[in-house]
């Protein structure tokens, strides 16, 4: 199975990763090989098995609700590439055109 150019561009778009043309060509081949490799699962008979949503063996335990242990807003924002007035700052979201 070989991914087409359109397919890999679609996955790039979904993953919000822009590839260069050279990278795309290389990854296309490698991803196709990996997909072929994991297709071995299709042949396995899993009838009678539900999906394993989680693998913990105990009943989920919730802690008491309550305030405490929060991170300081400034300390968190300090790590961002750009910020203003206590918020993250990003490039324009709505296209002016």
């Amino acid at each position: 199975m070989m991914l087409t150019d359109d397919e890999i561009k679609h996955i790039e778009k979904l993953a919000r990763i822009r590839l260069g043309d050279e990278d795309r060509e290389k990854l296309k081949g490698q991803l196709s090989d990996i997909i072929e490799f994991v297709r071995v699962l299709q042949k396995i008979d899993t009838s009678g098995f539900e999906t394993a949503e989680h693998i913990t063996r105990f009943k989920p335990v919730l802690r008491e609700g309550g305030a405490g242990g929060e991170l300081e807003r400034e300390k968190v924002l300090e790590q961002a590439p750009d910020r203003q007035d206590g918020f993250f700052k990003v490039p324009p979201v709505i296209d002016k055109k």
Binding site: R16, D33, V38, L41, P81, V93
Partner: protein, 481 residues
């Protein structure tokens, strides 16, 4: 006396007898890093000043009640250290200083440990050779032309090169055990939920576990005692404590039921490993353990299942690196373009491969065929192991099919690299505890490892068995020359 060449247990004894101070031990380790790490490149950051400061502070305190008093620890760079750069060896997190400590780091500090620095790894723990680091290539201390394994390659190499007696790694598909095997040290991954993942930068949340890499089985028990246990910040942590694991060390194997894969002689593994398995089986029987040959869950299915689930989870977990919240951002005119360029430029090749694969298997039209199918296979593997461990205490198998490989040899062949994990992924898929320990050397002088698996929450049995094998192999990196 070279204190960097002492086990945790030996150092604990020396501290309790007041024969050495934390600052002496820490300065030996820092000297060892200073003189060897330009060659090995195990560390991304070394806290020369702050580690000495902490050690001097501990000099004035008593070791009483602190199981890791004055013990130097190296921490993999995907574990958050408050105020110290934590990059996952990725360009996208370059300069990121978390405003909090991982729970394991808090527990180490409470136990009196000294954090020495952050170790190199495959970017976001994706890889089996540490070659996927955006910063440097770590070398195997036994032969610097060979890879240390991965993804916790820096952590394994740091212990193998006697720079620290212990490091923390993380294991999603074998990332503690595989490098431990290739570097001749002990690597332990607990039951899923045994150690809190709070502050471990997520790769695949249903598989990730933090664990210790040490020189001896006893040391891994000491460290596991400290880092394991319920954490209110990680709802998947197991409520019941594992008990004192050091009590498992030193018991014989009498009465233990050990399973070995049927037909292991025909597996595609090094002849030396077959010899080791054969010899171990005989010795275990001589010490009144029972050894039987069994059918293990399908390893090929396990690894395919692993690469679907791990990458699906990764594609979701790594969505947070969008150029808004942390460190790196590529300049762009619009938000959409900023996301795409930040991720295109900030992630390395392997991370892009995996996020794209994970996105593909979760996308409309493919979800049922890949992701859902893999979840069913996971349920099947879990149930097979459950039945196996209702009859046996331990499963013994190789950690990796052979010794290490040359740096550069597998980097352009992702599937060949993935196959290094063939014997390690089942423990993650089923959430079971597993340990790798050094079993000898191959003809080329590189270490070989043997792996044990136990049933759910079976760490005590696991360490009992591992300590027996350690004695049988007679491998002790700390013995006096």
């Amino acid at each position: 006396m070279e204190y960097n060449k002492k086990s945790i247990s030996e150092l604990r004894k020396l501290y309790s007898e007041n024969k050495v101070s934390p600052s002496e031990v820490v300065s030996f380790c820092l000297d060892s890093i200073n003189s060897n790490d330009s060659k090995i490149e195990a560390f991304l950051k070394v806290f020369y000043e702050d580690a000495m400061k902490r050690a001097r502070h501990l000099d004035g305190e008593s070791p009483e009640g602190k199981p890791l008093y004055g013990i130097p620890v190296a921490v993999k760079d995907n574990i958050c250290t408050k105020g110290y750069e934590t990059t996952c060896a990725s360009k996208i997190l370059e300069g990121y200083r978390p405003p909090y400590n991982a729970t394991v780091v808090e527990r180490l500090l409470d136990a009196g440990a000294v954090i020495i620095g952050k170790t190199n790894m495959d970017e976001f723990a994706m890889g089996s050779s540490t070659e996927n680091s955006a910063y440097k290539i770590t070398k195997n201390p036994y032969d610097t032309e060979y890879a240390p394994g991965g993804s916790s390659g820096g952590s394994a190499a740091a212990v193998a090169a006697s720079m620290v007696p212990v490091s923390l790694g993380s294991d999603t598909g074998g990332s503690i055990r595989q490098p431990a095997s290739l570097c001749g040290v002990v690597g332990l991954k607990g039951t899923y939920g045994r150690v809190s993942r709070y502050g471990l930068i997520a790769f695949a949340s249903s598989l990730d576990q933090i664990g210790p890499i040490t020189g001896t089985v006893e040391d891994s028990a000491v460290v596991m005692n400290v880092i394991s246990g319920r954490d209110s910040r990680d709802a998947t942590t197991i409520p019941d404590p594992p008990g004192d694991l050091t009590e498992s060390v030193g018991k014989g194997p009498e009465g233990m039921k050990i399973a070995v894969p049927r037909g292991y002689e025909d597996l595609d593994i090094a002849d030396e490993i077959k010899e080791i398995l054969k010899g171990t089986i005989e010795k275990l029987k001589a010490e009144n353990a029972s050894v039987e040959f069994v059918e293990l869950p399908d390893m090929d299915a396990s690894i395919a299942c692993y690469y679907i689930l791990a990458n699906a989870e990764a594609s979701s977990n790594l969505a947070r690196y969008d150029g808004v919240k942390y460190a790196f951002r590529a300049e762009a005119e619009s938000l959409e373009e900023m996301y795409e360029r930040t991720r295109g430029e900030g992630f390395g090749d392997e991370v892009k491969r995996r996020v794209l694969l994970g996105t593909y298997v979760l996308s409309a039209g493919y979800y049922d065929a890949y992701y859902k199918k893999a979840q069913q296979v996971r349920a099947m593997i879990c149930s097979k192991f459950e039945s196996l461990f209702s009859r046996y205490d331990l499963v013994m198998l190789p950690t990796v099919p052979g010794t290490s490989f040359r740096i550069g040899e597998r980097i352009d062949n992702p599937i060949e690299m993935y196959l290094s994990d063939i014997f390690t992924t089942p423990a993650n898929i089923a959430g079971l505890p597993a340990i790798s320990l050094p079993a000898g050397f191959a003809e080329n002088g590189l270490p070989l490892g043997i792996q044990l698996l136990a049933g759910y929450a079976g760490e005590a049995k696991l360490l009992r068995g591992a300590a027996v094998l350690e004695r049988i192999y007679g491998f002790n990196r700390y013995k006096e020359e």
